[in-house]
């Protein structure tokens, strides 16, 4: 199970790193090479985003990656095949990140079964609150996959408890309001917020949105279990190509 993987990994490392890529951006070959670079650099788990035409919760960088991937012909089936290849080749857990319509159009049960089949360990569906996700949650449970939900600074304690109940693996906590890829001022408030998160769930906490430097990474150490890096990797690839990915990750973790 995903949670136990995280817990055992945490015994060796104080802060794990989860990274994110958009499948098919800039193309499927590069996606594969980025995963390879990240795994080699020591990333602990990864989100593989299946592109969607209306990524309402994503900021400009990931949005553009989504639409470029689609424009280059990224089909869902192709994403699933490459994901299968990835899980077969690399030994860390991979999660899907995508929007609900991708599941819905394929049939939720069928899609979740396929996820299990190709070795995906869980999913983050940002436009699917648990109230709308009955079928999805049931299917995920049947296949022992981790449905991951999001805590935000304005979630109530009650809401956090509900979300926690519906989740497994870990909780994705966002550090601030807004979409992916914008700057976050990490401050003392964050401590209080994470305190609230800890009290609401027994699951490990991943902290996301805006992490992009070793200082950010260090700041999170001790506060959460997993640091999430999303948009910044895409910026690095856009600037330095796939070759830039590994040095960036190493630098981030303080190893570079």
């Amino acid at each position: 199970m995903l949670e136990s993987y995280i817990r055992s990994r945490r015994e060796q490392k104080e802060l794990l790193l989860m990274t994110h890529i958009v499948l098919g951006y800039p193309n499927f070959d590069d996606s594969l090479r980025m995963v390879e670079a990240m795994v080699e650099a020591g990333v602990d788990l990864m989100e593989l985003q299946i592109p969607f035409s209306e990524p309402m919760a994503d900021g400009p960088v990931i949005l553009k990656a989504n639409s470029d991937a689609l424009a280059a012909g990224a089909r869902v089936e192709k994403s699933l095949r490459i994901a299968e290849k990835i899980t077969a080749s690399f030994d860390i857990p991979f999660l899907f990140m995508t929007y609900y319509n991708i599941l819905f159009r394929n049939g939720v049960d069928a899609f979740v079964a396929r996820m299990a089949d190709i070795g995906i360990r869980g999913a983050i569906i940002p436009d699917l609150p648990p109230e709308e996700g009955g079928d999805y949650l049931a299917a995920m449970a049947r296949h022992e996959l981790a449905p991951i939900h999001i805590f935000t600074p304005n979630s109530t304690d009650e809401r956090m408890r509900l979300l926690s109940e519906k989740s497994s693996g870990f909780i994705y906590t966002v550090a601030r309001k807004g979409v992916t890829g914008k700057d976050t001022a990490f401050s003392d408030d964050l401590g209080d917020y994470l305190e609230r998160c800890r009290n609401a769930t027994g699951l490990p906490l991943a902290l996301g949105f805006g992490v992009k430097s070793n200082e950010d990474f260090e700041f999170i150490r001790g506060k959460a279990d997993i640091a999430v890096v999303g948009s910044e990797t895409i910026r690095v690839v856009d600037r330095d190509g796939v070759a830039g990915v590994k040095p960036f990750i190493l630098r981030l973790m303080g190893g570079g």
């Binding site: 309402m56 159009r105 935000t152 807004g178």
Partner: protein
């Protein structure tokens, strides 16, 4: 939220977690307002003193004679302040925004009408205002952008995706998830996550309530049919809701048939069979999408109907058969508009002209004793660039070229 806003299988609220408290608050404000008769009184008074409601129901005798069928009556939403039914929704949400103590509004806009209406409301209520508008629409509806800016609104051209209405909606949501504390998102049509479809329809129901009273008073009978164009579906919901309890009134929603059937050629979600059920932009309905669930390009001569989704309430009314859906092509629409301008001196917006076009196809078959109502959701003054292009008016082109020379030489 107390409710999830389902109409049969359609609707719901597929929202990012961060907006959950915002939607809770909005639902609560909406339900309280709805339960409070004073709120509707205040709303009606505002619409009367600011926007000129009730709008008249105008008998179109010349068109009726021309087709020789039923008597045609036109509900004149074009006479609203800012020139379209959009004012109804926007002013209502303005009152709610005040009630919620927020100080900033944002909105998406396609045709620009909703943007102008929102900017107007913001000026009137003293709110800050940001309008998201697809780059393509900024180009085709520049006069609207001009007026929004004069009102003090910031207009942000959206260059993502297909750069039209749906992309503006995504972008508005992106703003909202960062600024929900002081900001209300004034969604412009009966789409989006609950409670928007229901709330927008509620504000627009002022159209149907008036129309029913007026047609009874003026003709002594209910209409055989009521026609409205369907973009997101708000003006249609507004008119139709006045007649939901009158099964003898046939309700006809008219979508953008564009250049005809086939994905990419039109924006008909319910009349043609190119659409399928999906979930996007926070709600479940018929979308023009591919097998993967990716939204597809749409086309219409009218920016305001050029949208991939449709009100979930209308999707459910299609399934139940209560509303019939048809599509009118670009050419039919331009012809219907020209005829209406010439015969009645009315200038229906290109969006509204879809309703006229469909009515014209059918009205001749009805009896002269019958009455039909067409909803003129807006006026076309601001569509002048589009209409002039559609008609390829050479004098207009000369005028623009001369104007441009003037600017370049200055």
């Amino acid at each position: 939220m107390q409710h999830r806003g389902y109409y049969d299988q359609f609707g719901g609220a597929f929202i990012p977690e961060i907006l959950v408290p915002t939607f809770d608050e909005l639902e609560q404000a909406y339900l309280e307002a709805k339960a409070d008769p004073a709120f509707w009184q205040e709303y009606k008074a505002l619409m009367s003193s600011y926007s000129g409601r009730p709008t008249p129901l105008t008998q179109a005798e010349n068109l009726s004679d021309h087709f020789g069928g039923a008597q045609i009556y036109v509900k004149r939403e074009d006479l609203n302040h800012t020139g379209a039914h959009k004012a109804n929704n926007v002013m209502g949400q303005g009152l709610l925004t005040k009630r919620m103590g927020k100080t900033r509004v944002i909105a998406e806009t396609g045709a620009g009408q909703h943007g102008v209406a929102t900017a107007t409301m913001a000026a009137k209520f003293g709110f800050d205002c940001t309008i998201y508008m697809g780059e393509v629409d900024v180009e085709r509806q520049r006069p609207n952008v001009f007026w929004m800016e004069r009102m003090g609104a910031e207009v942000i051209p959206v260059s993502d995706g297909s750069r039209i209405l749906k992309d503006a909606i995504n972008e508005a949501f992106r703003d909202w998830v960062s600024n929900m504390d002081d900001t209300h998102y004034v969604l412009g049509t009966a789409c989006g996550p609950y409670p928007f479809p229901e709330m927008v329809s509620w504000f627009q129901s002022i159209i149907g309530t008036e129309a029913r009273e007026q047609v009874l008073r003026e003709t002594g009978k209910l209409p055989r049919r009521a026609y409205a164009c369907v973009g997101g579906g708000s003006n249609a919901m507004g008119l139709f809701s006045g007649f939901f309890d009158d099964p003898e009134v046939e309700l006809v929603g008219v979508e953008a048939g564009g250049r005809g059937k086939g994905i990419g050629e039109h924006a008909s979600r319910l009349a043609y069979d190119d659409a399928s059920v999906g979930v996007a932009q926070g709600y479940k309905t018929y979308f023009l999408q591919d097998d993967d669930g990716q939204m597809q390009e749409t086309h219409s001569v009218s920016a305001g109907l050029d949208y991939v989704g449709v009100s979930p309430i209308l999707s459910s009314l299609r399934e139940s058969g209560r509303v019939r859906f048809e599509a009118a092509t670009d050419q039919e629409v331009i012809d219907a508009m020209s005829l209406t301008v010439q015969r009645e001196g009315l200038i229906p917006a290109l969006e509204s002209s879809h309703a006229f076009a469909q009515a014209f196809k059918e009205v001749g078959d009805l009896d002269p004793d019958d009455v039909i109502i067409i909803n003129q959701s807006g006026r076309a003054d601001k569509d002048i660039f589009t209409v002039a292009d559609a008609l390829k008016d050479p004098k207009w082109e000369e005028f623009i070229i001369a104007k441009a020379k003037g600017y370049q030489n200055a």
